[in-house]
Amino acid sequence: MTALLILSPLIMLAALGAVWKARPVHAGLLLALTLSLAGMLYIALGAEFLGLVQFMVYVGAVAVLIVFALLITRPRDEIEEIARRPKSVGPGLLCTLPLLATLLYTVDRTLPEAPPGTADLPVRRIGELLFTTHAPAVLAVAILLTAVMLGAALFAREPSKKP
């Protein structure tokens, strides 16, 4: 609970930074911070395995990939440094705030007193489930990831000289 109360505001602040910062690379790095704080939260909640997966996949791969992409596509002119469309902030808030209000209202109104719950996430059990109950899903994800790898490699290939 203590960890939750400490980490939650930090995560919110980092995410706010990732959303609001004008410099793209700063935003990307703050995303990495958000994700690693979330990983810490997972660990604090007892889901160590998921926390580590979060670190390795999200922080280690996704966030780093995003930062790299941001560095590659650095804008040539100053105009692109403008973070967000000025005219879009109003409509954006118009969409986001009712949604947030509704979500918070729902959380506040409909939640029963939380049971003590379980903090035990046996890695062995995860392994068993992955290869029994969820074996088809694992296969599907495997195929998806292979396709993604090939597709990304094809996309990223330098286009040949003649179109």
Partner: protein, 103 residues
């Protein structure tokens, strides 16, 4: 305070922030950042309900998160590859630069 409520509040805020980024950011990669935030909000909910819900030997919540992370990685990889492709054509990551479908 109810820990589950704290978690759900956190995930609601994360989701809203992610949505805001998706709706307002100019840079396509930063739109992707918003999407990642929203996905994380969903994962947080799964973990919260597993942690503070009735004991579940099937571990549905964590399993969902595991698959969610795998899919998110795939989504980021393909998304970034597409963005790089577009960048090569338009020399810009501005989402509005690719509006050739306009009426």
């Amino acid at each position: 305070m109810n820990p589950l409520a704290v978690l759900l509040t956190l995930s609601s805020v994360l989701f809203a922030l992610g949505l805001f980024a998706v709706l307002t950011r100019r840079n396509t990669i930063l739109v992707l950042v918003g999407i990642e935030l929203m996905l994380n909000a969903a994962n947080l909910n799964f973990i919260g309900f597993w942690r503070y819900g009735p004991p579940d030997p099937q571990l549905t919540g964590p399993m969902f998160v595991l698959f969610g992370i795998a899919i998110a990685a795939a989504e980021a990889a393909v998304g970034l590859a597409i963005i790089l492709m577009v960048f090569r054509h338009t020399r810009s990551t501005d989402l509005n630069a690719s509006n050739s479908l306009h009426g």
